[in-house]
Amino acid sequence: MPEWVDGKTILFAMLAGLAGATAIGVVAFGNAVRSALCLVLNFFTLALLYFTLDAEMLGVTQVIVYTGAIMVLFLFVIMLLNLGSPAALEERPDYIKKALGFMFGGALFGVVASQVVRPFIETKQVFAPDNYGAPQGMGKALFTTYVWPFEMASILLVIGIVGSILLAKRRV
């Protein structure tokens, strides 16, 4: 066994494989419910990857916000559309679009992999302090240095709530 294979790399390889497989599942499944369930698994795997990066606070936030709130919203809308007519969620195959999509994706992959990922393939030096993902430090930064964007985010969320209610309500 080569000396770079240890517990951490094995764990990372497993999580990376699971993340890639579930990401492909989101696109490959024809049924929207299966895509959504693949996405839940993918977000959960990402939370575990955040834990391996020592960002515990964001890992927990990922589980609560994405797998908890956003995916429930997705499944809820799928359910509402399915109640009306199941045919609304079926797709016709379009081979020209598929060929173009795969070509474009392959080209983008080649460019980014060769120009951005390759220079960092050997970078192992960690610069961040040990407890950089702890809630205390993040809360302090959020309420001092980043308090202006934080307030802007809250305004954005309020506007989002009001807007989605306006869009979803029936005409009275």
Binding site: V26, L39, G101, V117, A128, P149, A153, S164
Partner: protein
């Protein structure tokens, strides 16, 4: 301090997820799945930001604590924007479905010039 997993590994996972999201947006016709692919791309970028936050400062002389925190703050705000975007986007999909009784993106050509 050295980690046994290189930065390139995390970047490769992020790139893989981003490419799958891009291909999905192009080839799928169901707007709900297209939204899921957009979420996939946003999460790929989040993973990349966190990886750079940990393996940090590319700029010489930058404070490691500050740069690590900057990456995490960016991820928090991406999550907030994604939540607002999903709420409004799914509301729009519901409104279109109620109006036209179809959600196929190729059928939505009202704004074609």
């Amino acid at each position: 301090m050295e980690s046994s997993v290189p930065l390139g590994g995390y970047l490769a996972v992020g790139l893989m997820m981003f490419i799958v999201g891009v291909v999905g947006v192009v080839i799928r016709r169901n707007p709900i799945v297209i939204f899921m692919c957009i979420e996939l791309m946003l999460n790929a970028v989040n993973l990349t930001l966190l990886a750079f936050a940990k393996y940090g400062p590319i700029v010489k002389g930058a404070d490691p604590t500050q740069t690590a925190m900057a990456g995490q703050m960016m991820v928090i705000f991406v999550m907030a924007v994604a939540a607002a975007e999903v709420a409004v986007g799914l509301g729009i999909i519901m409104a279109i479905y109620r109006l036209r009784h179809t959600i196929d993106v190729d059928e939505m050509s009202v704004m074609r010039g």
